[in-house]
Amino acid sequence: MISIQGVYKNFGQTEVLKNINLEISTGEKVLIIGPSGSGKSTLIRCINGLEKVTSGKIVVNGKDVTDKKNKQHEISKEVAMVFQSFNLYPHKTVLQNLTLAPIKVLGVKKEEAERTAYEYLDRVGMREKADAYPAQLSGGQQQRVAIARALNMHPEILLFDEPTSALDPEMIREVLEVIIDLAKSNKTLVVVSHEMGFARQAADRVIFMDEGEIVAVGTPTEVFDNSTNERVLEFLSKIL
């Protein structure tokens, strides 16, 4: 459960987020869309503490992320993130990418971390690449590994920051399939993306942001098919 209460975020003089209020319940699959610069990436980066809010409060599973006393370590148990540029550790093998943080941060035993790592690699179809290095993989494969790495922290919440934006069209599909498959689980997913495939097949709710504000919230049908909001319509006409 994520509760975002009156969040503002400034970068210098620029207001990137303006009074964001949003509740995401456990197990919900939420898609955040909007033009670039609308603050959607900043918003999900605030959820796991990568960005500090200027004011307001974000509570994740009862833990106040915006409270400085709460360590990143505590937040990482609840929330994992998948990045646009994958950010795998290039000096580690695929398997080590999955097990490093569970062993060092969560204190999981190596055998146990590897056992679950193989399970998740199976799930994203990357088991046979367990001993490869990231540079030997295609972009789509790297992103699937990054998803498995996030899963191996056993988070309740997964954040996706434009997970397919850096991929060639034929690779978008393989990554999207993995994310849509994940949506069948009881994990909470918050996805920043323009992928209609995810929106139509998996999203419970679509949030449209523009200029740092939440402009529209609703089911995919409500936002994509029945919206009357001008800014939403303008944006949709550009991407569809």
Binding site: K71, Q72, N87, L88, K104, V105, Q142
Partner: protein
Amino acid sequence: MSGQFASERWINFFTSYGNEMLQAFLRTLSISIIALVLALVLSIVFGVMSMSKNGLARAISRVYVEFFQNMPLLILVFVCYNLFPLINITLEPFAIGCIIIGLYHGAYIAEVVRSGIMSINKGQFEAAYSQGFTYLETMRYIILPQMLTIVLPPTAVQAANLVKNTSVLAMIAGHEIMYAANSYGYSTLNYGPPLVTAGILYFIICFPISTWAKKLERKRDIALEGRGGER
């Protein structure tokens, strides 16, 4: 040959002083190794501090680097040798050499480490933080291992510089190569052979290091090319 390089001057030098030169060579070598180890440890500590979010850590690192980069090595050595005894700190020239040269080159290598950390993609820090690693853990498990190939060539260049800089210890009776060569010349007025020999001995230590640095550099550039930037 005649004059300073007459053959009997060489013969006299090697027969009466060969053993002393060998001892001096070994002393230069051991001072260099100890100073280098100290410099490497300091450079990692201060290099990591220089990129920390903690302002105090950054400031301390900055002061250290600026002080040693802008102060002649010779003055530091003289201060330790001549001034410290007045406040009841007496150090052997050997110890002064190891400590001061270690501190001095630690500052230079700390800058190499800092630029190495800066060369790592910001996404690596973000991935590590998002997985709950602290700053020091991020450095240890993710950033430092990746930058090793990047910082090794300039560090090797610094190591060769360090060896050459041990020669300033001649001014405080350091009993290393430069001191031995100079004192033989001084007492016999036979300067040619000891100075040429001293030069050759420094070259013997430094040339392999420099060559190794170049080889590492070439290897690194190939590796970076292979990585092909962002994928």
